[in-house]
């Protein structure tokens, strides 16, 4: 797994967001996966959904692996390499487990919304009760199984909670079409649950966004 894909999770089981993302994507769509790692999701979308897929990935290893398996991936990152894409260039733009590692998440989100007709964002939820508990009990930056870094070596420089992200979506004027909150084992939290419940008990969340 590439740097960008593995920043959050240490076990494959934790990439349970990929199934949710795949379910959101319609067959034959033009898709850009930003932070695509070695292209696992793109390969899956091309095989299952027959999409016209492109990727952007920061790590050289991830890009080389992805291109060597026949995927169209460029080396670059969300902060610098989205500006040149035209408006509505893609049906879906995906940012999976990468938002928290960008320098300017708001700018990145606005770029995603501009170049994609729909945008899918998944991220680890920093509002999870275990994170809160660690901070409250020990008064130190939380380190969990899924977020194993120290504060000084983490690539995750812009953590947010489910509620934080919802607020950002409102601020940039996008519409939330669907939200899926996930437990660590991939089970979905009930759709009727309140945002506050999701914010406390989901390990990660996947948002399907569209322009206003």
């Amino acid at each position: 797994m590439s740097e960008m894909q593995s920043v959050v999770n240490t076990v494959d089981q934790a990439r349970v967001d990929l199934q949710v993302i795949s379910d959101f994507v319609t067959p034959g769509a033009r898709v850009l996966d930003v932070g695509c790692g070695n292209g696992d999701l793109l390969a899956r979308l091309e095989a299952e959904k027959n999409v016209d897929g492109r990727g952007v990935e920061l790590s050289q290893k991830g890009v080389n692996e992805a291109v060597a398996r026949g995927l169209s991936v460029i080396q670059g990152d969300a902060d610098h390499d989205l500006a040149t894409y035209p408006d509505d260039a893609f049906d879906f733009v995906i940012l999976s487990q990468t938002l928290q590692a960008t320098y300017a998440p708001k700018v990145v989100l606005e770029a995603l919304l501009r170049i994609g007709k729909k945008t899918i964002v998944s991220f680890p939820n920093f509002g999870h009760w275990k994170v809160r508990g660690q901070f409250m009990l020990y008064g130190r930056m939380p380190i969990t199984h899924d977020l194993p870094y120290h504060w000084y070596d983490t690539p995750n420089i812009h953590f947010c909670t489910v509620l934080d992200f919802r607020a950002l979506v409102r601020e940039v004027g996008a519409e939330i079409e669907q939200t899926v909150a996930l437990y660590g084992d991939g089970r979905r939290l009930g759709g009727s649950s309140s945002w506050g419940y999701w914010n406390a008990f989901s390990k990660q969340a996947v948002f399907l966004l569209s322009k206003p």
Binding site: D52, Q60, V63, V67, L71, I74, A89
Partner: protein, 391 residues
């Protein structure tokens, strides 16, 4: 008569320029080549090599474009030097450009000196060696000539066009000029235009050649001589730009050449001096000095954005071609930023593009060397292209 007698390899090179051992495509007065300079060139000839077999549907052809001092012998022994083909690690049976599957075409560019019409060939209209009477050639001219060769070989659509450096410029020109004839393009270690710094280095080389008395105003072939010293200096200066500071340091450092102390003179005390002198001397045996002027000029004039109203993305508007751009971290002649300019323009044109930057200390020359990551990238990209083509 000025200058020294020609060496055996030099004689061989001059023969090869006139009457190559490669296959030759002849284009007569009825099919003139309209050059960017406004002049029509006719008749002219293209020397080329092919590897592998063209399939019945003619869908498996790949064009390989050579760099400044390359030639058509990508995967065959060079008839002048006897050395293996310059890209024999990339092109061949089981190689990334697999000649068991693909039909590979590689031609000597227009203005070259390995049998395609160039300054060292005889102008059939006058019976004299062209020299500087040959019109200035551009990358666009080279590509138009190649397109005529591809027609001549009965191929309509190329599965891929692949090349590094000046070859990469030709790849970009192909994709811009003939988008419907290029399914996949692999420009390696190249740029959408030649930078001021690169033009500057080329000018140093040209001035070195033209300052050599044996250049004889470009008519050295008729004089039976060669501007060896000038061309060697040009090659030495250029060769530095193909390497990297790090690689030079690692390979040579300040090591002395066959001596234990400085000689307090101007002989080649340092290994790097000796190495560069050797590079210069071996180059002049095989390469025509005027051809070097034409090749460098063609690169200098290359500016794909300028051909398209100043916007590079316009060169690729609505293209269906798949691109795979490759750069090398230590290449300062065509740095990653230049290659990335191509990628961004392709993004802006919503083109299908892959881009790989490969970590190496080998500088610009890396594209000619054993680079497993480059090979894996090209292999994977071409395999995907072949799958889409139903091969």
């Amino acid at each position: 008569m000025p200058g020294a007698k020609l060496g055996l390899i030099e004689e061989q090179a001059r023969t090869e320029a006139q009457a190559p051992t490669s296959a030759l495509a002849m284009f007569g007065p009825e099919t003139p080549l309209r050059l960017d300079s406004g002049v029509s060139l006719a008749p002219f000839q293209i020397a080329y090599q092919t590897y592998g077999t063209l399939n019945a549907d003619k869908t498996n052809a790949i064009l390989v474009c050579h760099a400044l001092t390359g030639d058509q012998h990508a995967a065959s022994a060079n008839p002048v030097t006897g050395k293996p083909g310059w890209w024999s690690m990339m092109v061949g049976p089981g190689r990334p450009i697999d000649t068991d599957r693909f039909f590979v075409i590689c031609s000597n560019v227009l203005g070259g000196c390995m049998g395609t019409t160039g300054p060292a060939t005889t102008d059939p209209n006058t019976g004299e060696v062209y020299g500087l009477e040959l019109p200035v050639i551009t990358i666009g001219d080279m590509v138009r000539a190649q397109a005529m060769l591809v027609d001549h070989l009965g191929v309509d659509v190329l599965l891929a066009v692949v090349g590094g450096s000046m070859g990469g410029m030709q790849v970009l020109q192909w994709a811009a000029s003939y988008p419907e004839r290029v399914l996949s393009a692999v420009p390696i270690a190249t740029g959408p235009r030649h930078s001021a710094q690169n033009i500057a280095f080329h000018e140093v080389g040209r001035q070195a050649i033209m300052a050599d008395p044996d250049w004889c105003g470009g008519k050295y072939i008729a004089q039976g001589t060669s501007p060896r010293k000038g061309l060697a200096v040009a090659r030495m200066a250029a060769h530095i730009t193909y390497l990297s500071e790090e690689a030079l340091h690692n390979k040579f450092g300040r090591e002395l050449q066959d001596r234990s102390a400085l000689t307090f003179g101007f002989d080649a005390d340092f290994q790097i001096e000796s190495y560069l002198r050797y590079q210069g001397m071996t180059f002049v045996d095989r390469f025509d000095a005027n051809s070097y002027l034409y090749m460098t000029r063609a690169m200098d004039y290359f500016d794909l954005a300028a051909q398209h109203g100043g916007t590079l993305a316009n060169a690729f508007r609505n293209t269906k071609t798949r691109f795979c751009v490759v750069s090398f971290t230590s290449d300062w002649l065509f740095p990653t930023s230049e290659n990335r300019t191509i990628v961004h323009a392709l993004n802006a044109a919503a083109a299908n593009v892959s881009f790989v930057e490969i970590e190496t200390d080998r500088g610009h020359d890396a594209f000619l060397l054993d680079m497993p990551e480059m090979f894996a990238t090209v292999r994977g990209f071409l395999n995907a292209s072949a799958r889409r083509r139903g091969l």
